[in-house]
Chain length 142, copies 2
DNA sequence: TTTGTTGTAATCTTTTTGATTACATCGTTA
DNA sequence: TAACGATGTAATCAAAAAGATTACAACAAA
């Protein structure tokens, strides 16, 4: 009943690239060492972030860089980029009985509420940008 | 990355009890037939709902009934009653590297945002009561 | 005491996530 | 152009979680 760690891994990945790409070649191994997951997990994350137009990854020579203004990337954008999921956060039981008046209408009465709840969560994620996070990070480091 | 179907099953269960307990003995088998899941799943759901003070279940003779005003039960209450989860909706990667300035602070900069997002979702669920759902249901049936 | 039901444990299957291995391919550079 | 260090990507594995299912003791009422 959880949202994948892919999301927090992706945010972590972006922050590592931002923090080190000026001074170091930021490879999947380098990022993996900070996040402490398998490098292949990072490569897959980078593929998603690249597809979303947030980073550039150099095949062959290696190294990732950020290609979109961090002020234009919200947490929601990252979330959507890496956490595909079919769109619905709530998992509905599959086969309510259509022969029962409750089973027949349970979707009709619940779906809107579930969608609203999910939208509320997503809207909250839209409020914070990656740029905000880098500022927070800088202040913690300072 | 999903929220368990336990939640929708529980809402469905409460609505079935509400709709039929006047005219029928509502057993776990009866509810299971409407939700179309295994009766044991319903019994576990009923145990959670009973623990939350929403229903009464008669051991032995059988049958469930609602013991709390449906206007005082929000979707959030049901959600909390049946979806234990340790409290956090987001799954954070376990071991960010403390030797890295990003890994060391990633929790500090992200946790508040994740908590806010979860709270936004939960607050939305607090807006609708089970009584509202029964009214919606009645209008669909009518 | 028989019957129908709940409470609850145990097991199994499926699904999902992430770890891991493997390797072809690509860019750079020596 | 050969060697080297990376990435892209597939395939496999293992662990975790959710439900389904089986089983049965306890219980309440007829």
């Amino acid at each position: 009943m959880k949202i994948t760690s892919r999301f927090t891994v992706a945010v972590h990945t972006l922050l590592v690239i931002y923090n080190f790409s000026q001074t170091t070649k930021v490879t999947s191994d380098f990022i993996a060492a900070s996040v402490q997951v398998n490098p292949v997990v990072i490569r897959r994350t980078l593929l998603s972030l690249k597809a979303a137009g947030m980073v550039d990854v150099k095949a062959g020579s290696g190294g990732a860089s950020i290609v979109k203004d961090l002020g234009d990337i919200t947490l929601y954008d990252v979330y959507k980029a890496v956490d595909s999921m079919d769109g619905d956060m709530f998992h509905f039981h599959e086969n309510p009985n259509p022969a029962c008046p409750v089973g027949r209408n349970i979707h009709a009465v619940l779906d809107a509420h579930l969608a609203d709840a999910q939208a509320a969560m997503e809207n909250e994620l839209k409020k914070g940008t990656l740029l905000d996070l880098t500022k927070d990070l800088a202040s913690k480091q300072g």
